[in-house]
Amino acid sequence: MTTTHLELTGVDIEFPTPSGPFKALDNVNLKIKKGEYISLIGHSGCGKSTVLNIVAGLYQATKGGVLLDGKEVNEPGPERAVVFQNHSLLPWLTAYENVELAVNQVFKGKKSKAEMKAWIEHNLELVHMTHAMHKRPDEISGGMKQRVGIARALAMEPKVLLMDEPFGALDALTRAHLQDSLMEIQNELNNTVIMITHDVDEAVLLSDRIVMMTNGPEATVGEILEIDLPRPRNRIELADDPQYNHYRAAVLSFLYEKQRKPEEGGAAKPAKEKKLAQDVQDTPEIAAVSAEETTESADKVKAA
């Protein structure tokens, strides 16, 4: 828990665009310890997915780089498994076969056929998908698809688990279920995780540290908040916990006071903005300060 496991140093990225290079990230630095659960939070379009994709190896940093256990990351690989926002399961394969594809890649020659089968089933059981493991993605619900996506990533036994808004497309109840499942799994496996989220509650509930990003372009790490709540955490008990509410308020104040949403992005993702606006009203300390902005973004939602 003490040594650095994953390290981002001075990461810049420029995307070539028709109107010249667009610098999305500027000097992103982050050190993550083994077994740590990190959330990335920030306004839409600030560059969270870009950070995650650089760690995944899908994008190359223009300057700086990523070290995992002292080795430079410059291509994608199964030791950095990704859970994508829209599940990204192969629609022509069943849940079992989707996980199998990943397990075959990682454990070919290392596990026997029977061991692989047991391992696939074990991972599907972790996410409570045993009952529907022979169904194809179009036969299961959105939440179930996301569970299979998580099972696929877990089954690779990655050094780092990367999740890009894993529950963003789900309704609140399903999201809560999956968060609980994830905490259970995390208790057992103690993976190193980087998770992108738009949900302040989710970030506080799940994370060891919350990394808050400034607005783009040239986004970077703004503040890092250590969440020192005992585990296992229970969402109902935490609801009245002053410490928990203090953390929530800290994140919200970063997002709404220190990093006001830039004008142009406001209407692009109305659903997410609405969710954040709701958070603000739920938190009395913040509500007074940003009431004006809240109505403003609510208007934007209507306009959109």
Binding site: A56, P78, F84, Q105
Partner: protein, 332 residues
């Protein structure tokens, strides 16, 4: 199959079962009665029109004459088969006698060389079109995948594809004939030269839709699935088999069905022009023959060509439904 057959009868049952017989009846009319009316009206117009067209070979054949010619062609076919059987029986007897006299005698078995009947020609055309189509697909699908995966290759080949795609089979035919004559020389050829010529012409013409559609399907694979493939570090072959092929199957089949349609049209034209055995030759021979039955027999051929083309497309559709993973997609 079962699905379409229930479709055919379900409206009839529905009229009796439904709580709303009126709507069910309307549905029945739409699904079954309308096509039948369409066909009847067509037959009527055809009959009246035919009577008023006088050609040098007599009046244009109407539905009745065509029916008579169909029966005639079937009879001819059966007579020819009987002749063939008799021929082989005679030959066998002769050989048996020869062997009885002298056990060391060499016996020859000569093949029967009667005139191919209408149905023989159908068989020849079907074999040729399928062979040409399979050959074209074996080239077009892998090539389409390579082009789709490789943007520079696509840019390099696209002008050539666009250039050759619209070329008519009739333009290819003389070249193909000469090249096949020059290159396909063997003492004991497995296939007739005419078969190879037809096959190559068909392949050349029906290659393009499959090639282009496969390439488009492959290049349109979702970015997410490509990312999954990269994160899993799938090998090239696994990537193609597990991700590229399944996701491009719908586009591929669109191409394959277009290709098969073109193949069938091209083949008939090629057979007519090159006098290669098949339905096209049958039509041409009848035209040259110029008997009073000829127009009727050609008309039978026209209808059969249409029917076979339709059936080929239906078969492709069935295969597409079998291999398609997206069972919710509406295929027609």
């Amino acid at each position: 199959m079962s699905h379409s057959s229930t479709n055919l009868f379900s409206p009839v049952l529905a009229i009796f079962q439904s709580e709303n017989p009126g709507a069910a009846l309307l549905n029945f009319v739409k699904q079954l009665v309308m096509p039948v009316i369409g066909i009847l009206v067509f037959l009527l117009i055809w009959d009246i029109g035919a009577k008023n067209i006088h050609t040098s070979l007599g009046t244009f054949p109407g539905p009745v004459q065509v029916y008579e010619q169909t029966i005639g062609l079937i009879d001819e076919h059966q007579a020819e088969r009987q002749k063939e059987q008799a021929f082989y029986e005679r030959q066998e007897k002769r050989n048996a006698k020869k062997l009885a006299k002298n056990p060391d005698a060499k016996v020859k078995i000569r093949p029967y060389t009667g005139k191919p009947t209408f149905f023989d020609q159908i068989g020849t055309s079907l074999v040729t079109v399928l062979a040409g189509f399979v050959l074209a697909s074996l080239i077009a699908i892998p090539a389409g995948i390579m082009i789709g995966l490789n943007q520079p290759l696509y840019s390099a080949l696209n002008p050539l594809i666009q250039l050759f795609k619209p070329v008519s089979p009739l333009a290819w035919l003389p070249l193909v004939t000469m090249v096949v004559s020059a290159l396909y020389v063997s003492k004991d050829p497995m296939f007739a030269k005419s078969f190879i010529t037809s096959l190559v012409t068909v392949s050349l013409c029906c290659l393009w839709p499959t090639l282009l559609n496969t390439a488009v399907g492959v290049s349109a694979i979702s970015k997410d699935l490509q990312n999954v493939s990269q994160v899993l570090r799938l090998s090239f072959m696994t990537h193609v088999i597990k991700i590229v092929l399944p996701s491009s199957i719908p586009m591929m089949f669109t191409g394959l069905r277009l290709s098969l349609g073109i193949a069938w049209m091209v083949l008939i034209a090629a057979e007519m022009l090159a006098q290669n055995p098949g339905l096209g030759k049958f039509v041409w021979d009848e035209f040259q023959n110029g008997s009073s039955n000829s127009l009727g027999r050609i008309m039978v051929a026209v209808l059969v060509i249409g029917l076979i083309g339709f059936m080929l497309d239906r078969i492709m559709l069935l295969i597409q439904k079998k291999v398609s993973w997206d069972k919710t997609a509406v295929l027609r």
